[in-house]
Subunit: 345 residues, 2 copies
DNA sequence: GCGATCTGCTGAACCGATTAAGCAGACGGT
DNA sequence: ACCGTCTGCTTAATCGGTTCAGCAGATCGC
């Protein structure tokens, strides 16, 4: 029992015995239009009876607005992080009564440009470019009046952006360990190729700087391992190696949860127990972090909040600027508090 | 350097010295319209010069089509599975030159209905309802002419659906173990509350049936454990218990990868090695399955293909019907082939 | 009693595309 | 020379809303 065709404004007007103009004014609550309460009543009743909803295409045509924003990501649909960004975008957009058009892109720059242009051709009211790794990317220029925000990334021409506050997070995680009494800390850390290249990452360098400065300020001894890529395999290999060389280590800082998972595996193979024998902290808060035993203490990348922030820049009162969002420390069970700190040995 | 306003058909016509009609006919390659090659040339040149792209709102208004489909899911953006469904939908839609509007819904039925109506109000050309767990759900009726497909689920009124072939997958995974020579198999299996209730799952019962029938046909001995929820904790607890009672078990079938992760943890605590001492198979192929060591052999839920299939039903030649899609066996390293099958002990 | 103002409402234009209908000129047949 | 047909193009209507301008009739001031 569904009507064959959706009711139009003209249908409502006819049923209410009014003009299209009158009904439009009433349903949109235009201030200054002086229509009788009685007429308003009739119009609303007719609209309700017919299940009238305005045709968005017609509205867009007139207003030049589509009440739609575009979301483009380099790996939108591939990683669990993407989910959080999509979620944040969707929810925030909904609050502003907008819908979201989503496009997928590989790492390929030309695909991003193509997706971007397609969104513009669809006449979206704004575009969010969401990146999985906080990189520098090129984004085509948008027609005047279409705002663009980069979430978790940057552009060479400095479009408005939202980034995680990696420096603060680096300090925070180092402090979590030091506050618990750890002073000899393994650190699976530096990726010179990536940290030095904004096309790979604009934030990893800050994360590392935060960690290093906090450790240095409080006089902790750190043992750094360097890798090509932050992978589970790297965590496994470097943990094994660092512990062989420096058995005095009591805690590890892993660059990511994936690396931390490798640390766990290595410790398990060595018969060491987390957190009894070794404490571990890391960054990102992937789903994995809550699944491993014991739960991993990690600094969460606030993807959902960053996306929400981006939408608020596009549609809300928030200024189009550069913003840093805090990375909350998610405390689980991978850190042991050392009762006393023995000075010798 | 972006133009202040997008070019319209009228702009192109003016520049080309033709009427809007002529330009429209040319740019749309209408057969039967007899315009000179010379005019076509001018029209195309003018369109290119102005960067003309038709305004989709105007086209929709005229045609009644929006070239947009809606995707609604109960947990769209929350799980890694959702990503695959979104990806499949996006890619397939792109092939049909459609864009995708995505809406989020909690488990709450009323939210699904609300999201659905919102899509209809936006005049989408079709709707995909994608579910994370293959459940029975209620979907409001759509206006005539708007097709709806349920991906990984069912509706009481039997809307077209795409489901995984769980029965075949159950048989397949049991066979993987038996083909490798295993005959005494632990099986973390039955969830009576869920398997018996289509509102919870319309497929788990089939998965279990496939496993049980395959095991029975080939005379394997199975040891079943029952739980309330398929969780990592369940896998951990029941593995520990089953092995204590039945040390002769050489392999486990876990209901999901999450359960299998619990099995891994229990085996690790018991000092048992996968696959040397115990083999493990499961279902779903979450990201986790490739991350654990050794990699988990599992039957993949083909979310991306299911979504693609759904889109093809909406937009392509595929018949709107009920379809079962195969769940591919992803062979990793968690199954050991037993050389010989000792009869005693 | 008459213009000015206010009240309640309507007509028509407009957004940008598609398309049915039709028109001027060239050409062909007789 | 005249009618019919074909070619190449244009005019105008249409989709469904929003909005500018304006029109009757009532009310008011003096």
């Amino acid at each position: 029992m569904t009507p064959p065709r959706r009711a139009t404004l003209a249908d409502v007007a006819r049923l209410a015995g009014l003009s299209k103009t009158a009904v439009s004014l009433i349903l949109n609550d235009r201030p200054g239009s002086r229509l009788s309460d009685e007429a308003a009543e009739r119009a609303r009743a007719a609209a309700a009876q017919l299940g009238y909803k305005p045709n968005p295409a017609a509205q867009s045509l007139r207003s030049g607005k589509t009440r739609t924003i575009g979301f483009i990501s380099d790996q939108v649909t591939i990683t669990r992080f993407a989910s959080a960004m999509v979620r944040g975008t969707l929810r925030a957009a909904k609050e502003y009564d907008h819908t979201v058009l989503i496009a997928e892109t590989g790492d390929d720059v030309s695909q991003l440009a193509a997706a971007f242009d397609e969104m513009i051709d669809r006449r979206v009211d704004g575009v969010i470019v969401g990146l999985m790794a906080a990189r520098m990317v090129d984004v085509p220029s948008a027609p005047h009046g279409v705002p663009v925000v980069i979430v978790n990334g940057r552009t060479p021409d400095d479009l408005p952006s939202v980034l995680p506050d990696e420096y603060a997070a680096g300090r925070a995680m180092a402090s979590v360990l030091m506050d618990a009494g750890h002073t000899r800390i393994g650190f699976i850390a530096d990726i010179p190729q990536i940290a030095g290249d904004p096309r790979r990452s604009v934030t990893i360098a800050r994360r590392l700087a935060g960690i290093r400065e906090a450790l240095a300020e409080r006089g902790a001894t750190s043992f750094e391992a360097v890798g090509e890529n932050w992978t589970t395999a790297l965590g496994f290999a470097e943990t094994t190696r660092l512990l062989a060389d420096h058995p005095e280590i009591t805690a590890f800082i892993a660059g990511t949860d994936g690396v931390a998972f490798g640390v766990y595996q290595a410790l398990s193979d060595l018969g060491l127990h987390v957190p009894r024998d070794i404490s571990v902290v890391s960054f990102d808060d992937e789903e994995l972090a809550s699944l491993v035993r014991p739960g991993l203490t990690t600094a969460r990348l606030p993807y959902e909040q960053m996306a929400r922030h981006g939408v608020e820049m596009l549609l809300g009162d928030r200024e189009l600027a550069h913003e840093l969002l805090p990375m909350p420390v998610i405390a689980r069970d991978s850190v042991r508090t050392l009762i006393a700190e023995p000075t010798g040995r």
